[in-house]
């Protein structure tokens, strides 16, 4: 079964690659092609056994392949980037998956830029939550931090003006969020059904989403604001019966969202603020993430830099309560939460960096701790260690559902 799916995946990717290669070799010369990328070997270790039946017990291993092919011509005015991705996972069928992270054609002119194809677009300034970042769907099986994204099909016209950059996006084709499978950890008591997904729009996955964003730097301030109209990237999960088992069914509604992000860079202080206002058929709400980062340069007479981070999250919806929830209404994990962190950069030959953070829910008994450390080995290898601890005694908090999922994740990346 797994093998069959793997073969099908590989076959699909191979066919796409062959087609692309044939297309490109007819128009381009080999010397304009650059190949790079990375291969990652990753080992996860969960400190406790799974809370739910069928979950894997402790170890989870995987290998990730992520090459990047880049062609350019006309002195770089025209270019194509192709970045496929595939993860092999020894435990979770859902985590074993492939994606095209990027397949983009870019044309650059003096005052505008056209980007066509599958891309990733990031918006925002804060560190502990990426509230305003809305274009790409989260690749939820990848990692706990939600920073991995699925490639999004788009037509993006970027207009450069003296008064800022205006980006217009047409987004055809919606990507559904990925979730851990039955054997996977870091999931709810019920698995999320991948198949019977429902949409508010009759166009379903084919709904054409739109976004327009203005961004600019004025002195010490970096500003961005946007309007997004289309399919909500966050599904509503409702329990339902499938094959005599309880599963979560995904429902994607339509939304309009206004977003604003501001960073003030004042000496050693970075002040960061993000806010959104979202309207769906069932509700309207506002959410905010704001805080600061302060840097100490060269502490203890060494090359060490220390950054201290504090951020606060607020959401007018409050937390999701599955007992009283009405259909269409949603809640937030970060409704009244405080985050504090410290970033240490050693500024040495191997670029050793350590980041530690603590998050606390101020309404419920729930907290999380994270540690991320990385360094280079030689010229082409990088090792990283991530530790995440989650604690809660309040069944309303997401940390409660994940309270057995404390884990350490060790990875070695080879860059080529």
């Amino acid at each position: 079964m797994v093998l069959e799916r793997m073969t099908a995946h590989f076959f699909k990717i191979t066919v796409q690659l062959t087609f692309l290669a044939a297309l490109l070799s007819s128009t381009l010369h080999a010397e304009q092609l650059e190949i790079s990328g990375k291969i990652t070997v990753e080992q996860r270790y969960f400190f406790k056994d799974g809370q739910y039946e069928q979950q894997l017990d402790n170890g989870q291993s995987s290998v990730v392949l992520e090459p990047e092919l880049y062609w350019h011509w006309n002195d770089g005015i025209d270019s194509i980037t192709f970045k496929p991705f595939y993860r092999v996972d020894n435990q979770d069928d859902n985590r074993q998956h492939g994606d095209i992270r990027e397949l983009t054609y870019v044309h650059v002119a003096d005052a505008w830029e056209l980007r066509l194809g599958i891309r990733k677009e990031f918006w925002g300034v804060t560190e502990f939550q990426h509230l305003v970042d809305v274009i790409n769907q989260t690749d939820g099986v990848e990692d706990f931090d939600g920073e991995d994204k699925l490639g999004q099909q788009m037509v993006n016209l970027s207009l450069v003006n003296d008064w800022g950059i205006v980006d217009v996006f047409l987004l055809p084709g919606f990507r559904e969020r990925t979730f851990a499978g039955e054997k996977g950890r870091l999931r709810f008591p019920f698995v999320v059904d991948k198949d019977n997904v429902q949409y508010e729009s009759s166009a379903g996955q084919q709904h054409l989403d739109l976004a327009i964003r203005w961004s600019h730097s004025i002195g010490d301030f970096d500003l961005g604001t946007y309007w997004f109209h289309g399919t909500n990237r966050e599904p509503l999960l409702t329990p339902s019966i499938w094959n005599e088992a309880i599963v979560f069914q995904q429902y994607y509604n339509q939304m309009d969202q206004l977003g604003l992000d501001v960073q003030a860079t004042l000496g050693d202080w970075l002040w960061k603020f993000e806010t959104i206002y979202r309207t769906t058929n069932a509700e309207s709400f506002a959410a905010t993430q704001g805080g600061f980062e302060y840097s100490f340069i060269g502490i203890f007479d060494t090359n060490l830099d220390l950054g201290l981070l504090t951020e606060y999250a607020w959401d007018s919806r409050g937390v999701v309560d599955l007992k009283t929830v009405e259909f269409g209404k949603s809640g937030s994990v970060f409704q009244n939460d405080l985050f504090m962190g410290a970033r240490l950069a050693f500024n040495d030959m191997q670029s050793l960096e350590v980041l530690m953070g603590v998050g606390t829910d101020l309404d419920h008994n729930a907290s999380s701790f994270l540690l991320e450390a990385s360094r280079r080995f030689g010229e082409n290898f990088k090792a990283s260690l991530d530790i995440r601890l989650l604690q809660s005694s309040d069944s309303i908090a997401i940390e409660y559902a994940l309270r057995n999922d404390d884990h350490a994740q060790f990875a070695i990346e080879w860059y080529f």
Binding site: H72, E121, R376, N380
Partner: protein, 266 residues
């Protein structure tokens, strides 16, 4: 367009000359130190834009090496600091990372970093002048463009360096975030090229020496050293910069130095 540029150059020259003479109550040695530094800057005006490849070789005490491969594009801005785009190619794990800087003689520089894995553009604090660049013996301030307003000056005398008769002068950083109390600079009398710099740390002890060798002249006017060797006397480490593919007047514009160009820099 050409005429406009010439007028601008003339204006800059006037400003520099004014600076030289209006300066209040300088001792003769301070005046001469300033005059030499102005002449160094003066001879390097009008290159418009440049691009070059930089190979950075980091060596530790045991002689182990680590390589950084970097491309730098610069745009000369009249009456302000330069704009520059720094693109990292090696080590491989930082490939695609790019750094955009709008430097200013007196106010804080504006700096942005592009992180390719997240596709994120981050505005960063430019306060960190004294910190090491990419783990090397070069601090950020050692690599930023030379502006007259950044230092005060004192002429020390004449000395031979690299076989060339040179002026020896002291430069005192104005910025309190600088990692140095002073720099001792040797400028050859023949072409006003910087031959050597000694850096003194905050405790005023000798920290590093930077030597410039293999100078080449471009467009019949602008001198650039192919090799820069920085030796740290306190930790025994060194960093060598090897420059290649220097090109001037490529027709780069302001639009080559914005958020969009930062995101696609290669």
């Amino acid at each position: 367009m050409m005429i406009k540029k010439m007028i601008f150059s003339a204006l800059t020259a006037t400003t520099l000359t004014l600076l030289a003479h209006v300066s209040y109550a300088l001792t003769p040695d301070e005046q001469k130190g300033l005059d030499i530094s102005i002449e160094v800057k003066q001879r390097d005006i009008g290159w418009q834009d440049s691009s070059a490849d930089m190979l950075m070789i980091l060596r530790n005490k045991q002689g182990q090496e680590s390589i950084r491969e970097i491309k730098i594009k610069s745009l000369e801005i009249t009456n302000d600091g330069d704009k520059s785009l720094t693109i990292f190619n090696k080590p491989r794990d930082v490939k695609g990372t790019a750094f955009l800087s709008f430097s200013h003689p007196v106010e804080a520089d504006e700096q942005w970093l592009f992180l390719p894995a997240l596709k994120r553009v981050k505005r960063i604090s430019s306060r960190n002048k004294s910190g090491p660049f990419m783990g090397s013996e070069f601090a950020f301030e050692d690599l930023s463009s030379f502006e007259i307003e950044k230092y005060s000056y004192k002429y020390l005398g004449e000395e031979d360096v690299n076989g060339l008769n040179s002026f020896k002068l002291e430069q005192y950083p104005v910025d309190e975030n600088s990692g140095y109390t002073r720099r001792v600079v040797w400028v050859d009398k023949q072409a006003y090229r910087i031959q050597q710099v000694d850096f003194y740390d905050r405790k005023d002890s000798l920290l590093k020496t930077l030597s410039f060798t293999d100078y080449k002249q471009y467009l019949g006017k602008y001198w650039r050293a192919d090799v820069q060797q920085m030796v740290n006397h306190q930790n025994g480490k060194s960093t060598e910069l090897k420059w290649s593919n220097y090109q001037f007047k490529n027709g780069l514009k302001e639009s080559d130095f914005n958020r969009n160009s930062l995101k696609r820099a290669r």
